[in-house]
Symmetry: C2
Subunit: 308 residues, 2 copies
Amino acid sequence: MGKLLIVGSVAFDDIETPFGKSDKILGGAGTFISLAASQFKVESAVVSVVGDDFPQSYLDLLTERNIDISGIDIVKGGKTFYWKGKYHNDLNSRDTIITELNTLADFNPIVPDNFKTAEVVMLGNLHPNIQMGVINQMEERPKLIILDTMNFWMNHTWDELVAVIKYIDVITINDEEARQMTNEYSLVKAAAKIQEMGPKYVVIKKGEHGALLFHKEHIFFAPALPLEDVFDPTGAGDTFAGGFAGHLAETKNISFESMKNAIIHGSNLASFCVERFGTERMVELQKHEVDKRLIQFRELTQFNIELT
Amino acid sequence: MGKLLIVGSVAFDDIETPFGKSDKILGGAGTFISLAASQFKVESAVVSVVGDDFPQSYLDLLTERNIDISGIDIVKGGKTFYWKGKYHNDLNSRDTIITELNTLADFNPIVPDNFKTAEVVMLGNLHPNIQMGVINQMEERPKLIILDTMNFWMNHTWDELVAVIKYIDVITINDEEARQMTNEYSLVKAAAKIQEMGPKYVVIKKGEHGALLFHKEHIFFAPALPLEDVFDPTGAGDTFAGGFAGHLAETKNISFESMKNAIIHGSNLASFCVERFGTERMVELQKHEVDKRLIQFRELTQFNIELT
């Protein structure tokens, strides 16, 4: 059992999909990552910031799942990060209606002492300087640093992003962002260029079209599990990252073979996340459900061709 | 070794991609299907029609690969079906610039006597009445009838399409067509509805995003092999279908497990097709290249998670 340090927003989401409205509910990358990672035998801590408008019940929900929240700064008189978004009919795109950074605007992450030696660090989607600030607080070089980012940081903080990804092992981004980052349409070429920038492993998330893992000449692919209904895609990418990081922290095995399994675990957990609004499905998720769906993943992808 | 009867256009294609122009070259669904199937130990015949403007060298190219062309009607004074298209920059969409049906407009398929007992019939994308006309000529019910179609026939010959798919076993269509056909966005729901219309197996082609096979509660998925460059997608879907049909005709095993392998073989061959203009890559393709890429498919998709 390894230690996993998670940095990311803990927030309020307000979501509208073609199937309904959520009102103001628990959200944030740090939340989704840590809930997914809690499915594994890991000691995990989440570093984040909220205002004192953030309900104790949401914090308890994390604590009950053995997620160390001593690194969540509760700012007196502050307000919690709030995002309101509306998905289009195909659920593949969305409009942001409101973004209130609130306490997240001045977020200064403080890594709890007992997590400064964590084997795995998962840097959720945040300003690259905040991500770098966390790396700098580690007592020793973690076995694995995973970083998630998005086009917003490429557009506004390119130099800072380039600086931090030199120090990481795995980057997770979506297909459009990989193309934007490298000016290459081919994801094979894009992943090769990104590896030259630092990360030895590149994970490209394609949403309903699955995820790709690149390392040198090796490529692994996991599909998204075909579902009868997708209800709300919010948090699916972070849940994927949390499952990926959680498996690697549990096994402390960062070989390519182990990362393949981590990609499957991440895809598996993401398939639950999208079945309900926000974190609803993840907070009630049981191990037997997770295992059952892993068998479905196996049936979905495994074949046996003998070469003659 | 089984017999495979293929029905489909044998044609001239004229292709423009962001990488160049092909001029008038060999194309057509029947051509791509039969070239892909020729990679397997099968006796195959293609039923089609061309004009006497069609070069003998193109016919020889099929004959040299043991494809029986006695069912290709060469119409004296007639002109061969001609399609000219231009792909957009991302290669995911294209504009048709010219379609001249020519001899294909009055195509009356005649199944060669020695293929009226073929185990597998692959009905390429054509008017559903032509597809039905072929089924009616079979002496006995084939072990497996596979049908490919497209949105054009859904829009213009819906009743005829519904009539023919009652008699088939496997339908291959793309994701948008599956949605159009059923008014369901979820491919899981769409595939279930299509199975109610006749075909016990539904193959949904998603281009660069792979292919799905549905049968009752079973789902299998094969990705497209990630490539550095895609040069020309023309014929990829037909090559996929030819590989699928070819494997099933070779093994005469139509179990779900065998169909999984057929999906992989189809995806594998399609990955070669797109590397050059038209049939260029397929006509020079060697078994050792095919086998090597099957190993890549295995590495791309196979994992080993032990459930605890």
